[in-house]
Symmetry: C2
Subunit: 344 residues, 2 copies
């Protein structure tokens, strides 16, 4: 009897010691800064306060795990969008291979201008011209062929200023926010004006976001059979969902069916997504990335008194709305300790 | 020293005992039948063989967890679709409340016929008439109002034969397949010709499938503001995705962006989804539910030499294709020990 009692006492002691170690480990983990690339300030504090309020069971603002949805714009919010959207660069470069297959395009505008290589003329192309280029380069192939083409291009292409692959030009602080949210039970989604099929090629690898959590501008898809009778899905030059502006909350309803609790953007294209998110009950987090760091990245947009550009318009009106509605503006210059993972 | 050695020996013994218990528990769990409502036979064996092959790391057919996608048609595959699709019953019953708000409808066909209550005349309505009724009853309200209406109706409505809520008329064997797949790392999706917003109201509660994993026929959604300036999403009488036939693989690409490894259906509307699934590499599971049990549920469709009906056409051609391509046909009569959870 004595020996059994003693064994039990030892076992209990060992078990307690193990539990204590486990608790210490958990505490140590909780004390580790989840956002090491962020400077202390209102932006970082807003993120941490939001996560605490919505995941603490005793909080009145607790959100049940299945409801935890966070949406992120991509261009200018998760990665560099200057001097041109990466996908537009891709499409312009694809025109060359397209013209090899269809030589008649060489004499047709806007393809002629693109093939001329005249950068100034290309920069002056209208939105309508760009749409023609996008339609021509993003359709006519199976979804698998398209994936192979984009993957190959991303492995070769480099950003003109940073001389690195585009997929390395993601913002380290935003990767940390996504990881922090996921570690707290949030499902993270990309909600982009960019092409859904384009972003899905690298979303898992770059952002740890699976294809089914990428909502983007989507074209028609046509089911058919190839010569050997094998089923195929072919990309069509037809717009199904324009995932910009009002199209963002509409796309969120279509693809997710729930209102997000947190939404991140950087331009007028994200306005409605943030409004829709903010109109929900309880704690909601709305944030806008302001590009005000010409040294480490770029500075652009009227909110800084700078001329508007084709991409990423953070207008004065958006700035006013953010202030009025209590959205948090993230200053790249002041809030981010480092911008890219490759900085030491 | 001796005492420490002894403590360690006891600790090791206890730890080993705990591990053995754990292993025994795991083994016992593995030996529990994951599909208790299924009779032993080729259908049950096909499901178990598929799950083992795709989740065993040493198998050549192993599928990495993030790729594990299984898609399920709803009407006739997960729940009863006879004598009429549940959603059509809902729409027909909504015509009454619609006519209260818009009395002019009382003299306009097909609403006049629906309001007459003449069952024979209603049964004879054309597809075009039904589409008019669907468009009128499934649009014009916010997505939240629609959810409240459907929820309320489902709580009251009863099936004419079984005298139970429609949400109780789900097939227990299929619930088990979904649970078994999820327990093995599969993400289960509903891919239905029914309305996406309709099914999302109860999918989590009935099937443990969250709204973001429901792909269905979807109408347009319009972002706007109500009188107090609050953002709203309103359902429009415009078809965005017809999630039937070729629309199923197209919808799967739009909403999931991956080819399923397993797909379940019961009619010609599921043919392309099964073809698309089967055209992938490695192990794939394609199954069709055959309604051949008039006693416990229904028997219908030309595959049994019975006249075709408006819903759930399991045609002779589909039967031939299933045989040719090696899809498994599930006989409700022979493969299912019990059909509904409420049977004892």
């Amino acid at each position: 009897m004595k020996s059994i009692t003693r064994s039990f006492a030892i076992f209990r002691a060992v078990a307690l010691a193990l539990c204590s170690l486990l608790l210490l480990g958990l505490r140590a983990r909780a004390q580790t800064d989840p956002l090491p690339s962020w400077n202390d300030g209102p932006a970082k504090q807003a993120i941490i306060a939001f996560v605490r309020a919505t995941t603490d069971k005793s909080s009145q603002k607790f959100v049940s795990p299945e409801e935890r949805i966070a949406t992120f714009d991509q261009d200018g919010t998760l990665w560099v969008e200057h001097p041109m959207y990466t996908q537009v660069v891709y499409c312009l470069e694809r025109v060359k291979s397209l013209a090899e297959k269809k030589p008649e395009l060489k004499n047709v505008e806007p393809f002629k201008t693109v093939l001329s290589g005249d950068r100034e003329a290309i920069a002056k192309l209208s939105m309508q011209d760009l749409e023609k280029i996008l339609a021509a380069t993003l359709s006519g192939m199976t979804v698998e062929q398209f994936g192979v083409e984009v993957k190959g291009w991303l492995a070769r292409a480099k950003h003109p200023r940073f001389k690195r692959p585009y997929t390395e030009l993601v913002y380290q602080p935003m990767l940390e926010v996504m990881q922090y949210l996921r570690a707290n039970g949030y499902k993270t989604y990309i909600v982009t004006g960019g092409g859904q099929d384009f972003v899905r090629v690298y979303s898992e690898h770059v952002y740890e976001i699976p294809p089914e959590q990428v909502v983007g501008t989507a074209g028609g898809i046509k089911y058919g059979y190839d010569k050997s009778g094998r089923p195929t899905l072919t990309k069509e030059p037809k717009l199904l969902l324009n995932d910009n502006n009002a199209g963002k909350p509409e796309g969120i309803h279509l693809m997710i069916g729930r209102r997000p609790y947190a939404a991140f953007g950087n331009s007028t294209g994200d306005r409605q997504m943030l409004e829709y998110t903010g109109a929900g009950d309880g704690a909601r987090l709305m944030m806008l990335v302001l590009h005000d760091d010409a040294n480490r990245e770029y500075a652009y947009g009227p909110a800084q008194g700078l001329p508007d550009t084709k991409v990423g318009a953070f207008t004065q009106a958006l700035y006013e709305e953010a202030k009025k509605r209590g959205w948090t503006v993230i200053s790249m210059k002041n809030d981010w300790k480092r911008i890219f993972a490759f900085e030491e």
